[in-house]
């Protein structure tokens, strides 16, 4: 595996984890509002 290919693979994995973390942040944001809204 060349150095460039290895870095590209690292970046591909990073993008997948980043999407997951972004989804967590978005769910926290919306979930928080919904949870409080529905409780009332």
């Amino acid at each position: 595996v060349t150095e460039a290919a290895q870095i590209e693979e690292q970046r591909r994995r990073a993008r997948r984890v980043a999407l997951l973390l972004g989804a967590v942040a978005l769910c926290t944001y919306l979930g928080f509002i919904l949870a409080i809204g529905l409780r009332r």
Partner: protein, 529 residues
């Protein structure tokens, strides 16, 4: 800590290039060093903007009575000073350090997501611009304090939705930056760089980034609810519609307390790099430092209501939040003792970064102790909303977080610019700042204990003497900030050439590359033993 070897190899690929020319370099850059520089320069500009607001506050408080500004504008200055200093200055400064140093420290060629990195930065000036523009709107800027408590914050004029929008954007910038930092650290480390070989600065930022992702959406949710209460007829925080204004305080501080650690943990990381370097010893208790940082991160989420003991919560709640807050003293003390033990029998020298790191150690501890005083629920009823609180959090944030950032700037400036800073000027800057910070903030403890409330433009005459001394101290601090900016730009423009190592046998991959660090580094992964 790890030991590393790395012979710097010039880029072998023909697709390597230097920076673009002119403005486009800065607008479209995806290079972590460029973006780090942008963050740091932006933070420096915001230090002046937020500092100017602090000067308005201290000028007004120089004497009792109303001298320069009307009370409403004074409240706007208090609110904006906090928002700008927190979201516009200190957080971007540490993200700047992260951008510059994390790839260099873990042996990565760049951040994992360079285009996202560009976007994270460029959201910032627009968001801060929107926030600052509210000062020129009808009714002025936000004036209800940075905590934005309803119903007071809902009484703002046209500026209100712009403030909320700006806070959303600032939060988005932080979240995107944090995601990038996490995936960079988790995916881009050089072979052999296991988690427990990472420099402490990288560790503290990894934990900070997780805190940001957990805390920022909560603030965003809270201010979105404020917005819908104001414009869409909801009553989340309006008792008339079945809502509860205290709920907002809970939401705000569930974000707000981790935010305190978001600000201070990277400073802990910087100090953990500096003290071993100038003690010529490895960091004492590396693993304990990592676990203490993680403990602080966890505990920061279960202490929030110590900010609101006076709202009338049940005794069991007061007990819980009092004891959980005191618990944070344990991992914090682990850090303080380990830094001290690192210096024990070390070959100490006192260059400017070390002076600021030592001042951090002493003065942050003062802020920590006054925090313990505030954590005692029955005593807090006396201190709450007084200048004692202002003194406490300024000791944590100025000689704590800001000194950490300044220490880091002096420490890595030669690596960034290729020039040594002027050591004499650096020491003058240190003593001017260290003295003036204490002259500014220490008397505020006395004012608070004597009963002076915070967020007021006028006060009873018995508070006059200490207020005048505090204001004089703040003018000295302004001089320190101007001198710091001069030193930074003087170093950028020239000075003695820095070697690759810069300091005496420092440890870490960043010292294996030349000074200034080349535009592209670690195209070939270094060997970490």
């Amino acid at each position: 800590m790890s030991t590393q070897t790395h012979d710097h190899v010039e880029p072998a690929h023909d697709d390597q290039h230097g920076p673009a020319k002119g403005l486009t370099r800065w607008l479209f850059t995806t290079n972590h060093k460029d973006i780090g520089t942008l963050y740091l320069l932006f933070a420096l500009v915001m230090l002046f903007v937020g500092g100017a607001m602090a000067m308005v506050i201290r000028l007004e408080l120089f004497q009792p009575g109303l001298q320069f500004v009307n009370p409403d504008f004074y409240n706007q200055m208090v609110t904006m000073h906090a928002l700008i200093m927190i979201f516009g200055m200190i957080m971007p400064a540490f993200v700047g350090f992260a951008n510059w140093m994390i790839p260099l420290m873990i042996g990565a060629p760049d951040m994992a997501l360079p285009r996202l990195n560009n976007w994270s930065f460029w959201i910032l000036p627009f968001a801060s611009g929107i926030l600052l523009s509210t000062l020129f709107m009808e009714g002025g800027g936000p004036a209800g304090g940075w905590t934005l408590y309803p119903p007071l914050s809902l009484q703002a004029g046209n500026s209100f939705p712009f403030t909320i929008f700006a806070i959303h954007l600032l939060g988005m910038s932080s979240i995107l930056g944090s995601i990038n930092i996490i995936v960079t650290i988790m995916n881009m480390r050089a072979p052999g760089m296991s988690l427990l070989k990472m420099p402490l600065f990288v560790w503290t930022w990894l934990i900070t980034a997780y805190l940001l992702i957990a805390a920022m959406p909560v603030l965003a949710g809270g201010v979105t609810m404020l917005l819908t209460d104001q414009f869409f007829g909801t009553t989340f925080f309006n008792a008339a519609g079945g809502g509860d204004p205290v709920l907002f305080q809970h939401i705000f501080w569930f974000f707000g307390h981790p935010e305190v650690y978001i600000i201070i943990l990277p400073a802990f990381g910087i100090v953990s790099q500096i003290i071993p370097t100038f003690s010529r010893k490895p960091l004492f208790g590396y693993a304990a430092m990592v676990y203490a940082t993680a403990s602080i991160g966890f505990l920061s989420f279960i202490v929030w209501a110590h900010h609101m003991f006076t709202v009338g919560m049940p005794l069991a709640g007061q007990m819980f939040f009092m004891l959980s807050t005191m618990l944070i003293a344990i991992p914090t003390a682990v850090k303080i003792f380990n830094w001290t033990a690192t210096m024990w029998r070390g070959s100490l020298t006192f260059e400017t970064p070390m002076l600021f790191a030592l001042a951090f150690l002493f003065l942050f501890t003062i802020g920590g102790f006054s925090g313990l005083m505030l954590a005692i629920a029955p005593a807090d009823f006396q201190y709450h909303d007084t200048y004692f609180v202002v003194a406490h959090f300024h000791y944590v944030l100025v000689p704590g977080a800001l000194f950490g950032a300044i220490a880091g700037a002096y420490f890595w400036l030669p690596k960034w610019t290729g020039h040594m800073y002027d050591e004499t000027l650096g020491k003058i800057h240190f003593w001017l700042t260290a003295i003036s910070v204490n002259v500014t903030f220490f008397p505020q403890h006395f004012l608070g204990l004597a009963g002076m409330p915070r967020r007021i433009p006028d006060y009873a005459t018995q508070f006059a003497d200490w207020n005048m001394i505090s204001s004089i101290g703040s003018f000295g601090k302004l001089g320190g900030v101007v001198l710091f900016a001069y030193i930074v730009f003087k170093t950028i423009r020239g000075g003695a050439k820095a070697t690759a190592q810069v300091w005496d046998q420092p440890e870490g991959l960043e010292w294996t590359v030349p000074s200034p660090a080349p535009y592209h580094t670690f195209d070939e992964a270094p060997v970490v033993k």
